[in-house]
Symmetry: C2
Subunit: 401 residues, 2 copies
Amino acid sequence: MPERSPLDLPEDHPFGPHNLPYGVFTTPADPRPRLGVRYGDHVLDASAAARATGSPHAGLLAAPTLNPLLAAGRPTWQAVRAEVRAWLTAPEHRAAVTPLLVPLAEATMHLPFEVADYVDFYASEHHASNVGRIFRPDAPDPLTPNWKHLPIGYHGRAGTVVVSGTDITRPSGQRKTPADAAPVFGPSTRLDIEAEVAFVVGAPSAQGAPVARGDFREHVFGLCLLNDWSARDLQAWEYVPLGPFLGKSFATSVSAWVTPLEALESARVAPPARTHQLLPYLDDTADAQDAPDGLDLRLEVAINGETVSRPPFAAMYWTAAQQLAHLTVNGASLRTGDLYASGTVSGPEPDQLGCLLELTAGKGPFLADGDEVTITAWAPGPDGTRVGLGEVTGRIAPAIG
Amino acid sequence: MPERSPLDLPEDHPFGPHNLPYGVFTTPADPRPRLGVRYGDHVLDASAAARATGSPHAGLLAAPTLNPLLAAGRPTWQAVRAEVRAWLTAPEHRAAVTPLLVPLAEATMHLPFEVADYVDFYASEHHASNVGRIFRPDAPDPLTPNWKHLPIGYHGRAGTVVVSGTDITRPSGQRKTPADAAPVFGPSTRLDIEAEVAFVVGAPSAQGAPVARGDFREHVFGLCLLNDWSARDLQAWEYVPLGPFLGKSFATSVSAWVTPLEALESARVAPPARTHQLLPYLDDTADAQDAPDGLDLRLEVAINGETVSRPPFAAMYWTAAQQLAHLTVNGASLRTGDLYASGTVSGPEPDQLGCLLELTAGKGPFLADGDEVTITAWAPGPDGTRVGLGEVTGRIAPAIG
């Protein structure tokens, strides 16, 4: 019986030929960062495969980050994806490609692209309502009056986005409860997670030229999982009137793998019914059945190996296509590497909440030093398969000083 | 009588040898972006001068942006500054340098550095109080409770920072007044300016390692003028609870010239007296007399050539050194090219207000299509001289569509 090749995957493997996410990796034997494609429990060295097969895309795939591929635009994304699938499945490539597969355990993963601007939205009605009740208990409505009319978002710190597996140092800062006469300084005592899905912009746009909702797939390459670490005590004291700042800016973790939107066609679902008439640039009711922009991604959050929540991305009120249209409707340009996140994914059920603030009704406990948080997800693929999303994980290191 | 050389400046010229700001320029004859130093009404081609004089810094100065010089750190900044001054003032360089001076009118200026993250603070007590009264008329105190304890700030969009002279397209977006039943969409009808001073980070810092207030000059290279264009109608409807987003993200203009902090030693002044005891990482009372971090910059705002305000930067409550310490106290890292702005500069007097919202008590008129806004500034230099700051200007173009 011949030795089993890493190219021979079970048909229902979540990282099979219907998935093919991209990342950047190094190995002990070759410390140059290079593009890889996850296949089963291996990483295909995409730059070496392109050279070995004489690919017309060898130049794009030789870069140390995904940015040149991202910038190339949708027709190229589709052509490269077809080529990668052929390398992994066509018999004529088998001999050349087999030695280019590196076991995942031997690969060190890096931030897969250079982040340009980072924006965080607030797109779960369940999350926004729950947080509104906790942060603004005296308000008559937990949602602010604008919430159902536009996808609320804000800019975060691009320079502190880190790849999955990076330790997160507990931040210090100011906090003040109503009982304190003055603010006190020290390590955050209410360090939290936010389980999110983040979208990666490939093709840029010009300043002054809004991107229509329907052009979402021309500009957005794919998505990753994201943990928007949040120091709730710092955030509560600082965020009025200009929004979150130090409570978020210390670190944001993303998965090492970027899943192309092309891999998620079977996961498209209608978003929740709209309760308010939307302005034309956001109105997606006509597309809800035939070309919906919701995505049926099933997230799972585990702390120290124990599952604490299963947030359903399909419950998100605002879609990534609406968010892109909103982000640019004032003429703001897009750059290759722009990253925008969904906001905390929370569903209607108590075991579907995407942060500890909600899971504990604001009371805690929050994260302790040494805690390791891992977010995983999958989506329906073609023919009953599953599409696995790369995990995002991080461990809390003690505050410095 | 010999022809007068552009090297022969009047001793009191605001762009004399005590100033020496850096920029990036092209000329019709040579379209390659390259570093320039402003001297009088000319631009010295710094890359050509470095080659002509065999400078040890020729490599840094050959880049098409300031980023490599910014990253090199303070000892190099000082060495290059001394070298540039010698090129412009020492007789032995006169023959080599004279042909490398380009009249300002022949130079096209470009964004002088690649912006990493962009942060906007809110450091004028006068501005924050005036805006608080306009946006939150029912609040008991125009300042939020945190305002005197920390420099409030938020992240803006780095990708839409443009150089002085770039037209600003009027943004469109959602607005809703209390009288409207639902939001309406259209070009902003309350387009405003914010006259600010912005600080440019040179030397980076590591994630997890706060930068002390006293290390400000090791990390920050210099400053420029900034106009934080603001669509007040978009901003008012969107900003609760996560802060400004589309009301600001369409464009931010910066001056073409970055003035080194080294040129502003004579402008250092004590900031306003502190009314609250500050936490140790922000407390600058011990330095207020001997090593103050306030800066006596005199701004002037003109619309269509008519001066509308003279905002005094010396009145800012929070200093740039405090802002840097705050920005990093949670462990957030700095990158070369990080830009952080002061927030609107407003003084106590009615002719010292830095935006139209304040100048018109919220009533307008705001900017019309075709209006050109220019912010200029100067600071006291050594021996009674003035240090000129490069202007930031922009003209409003009509909304698209």
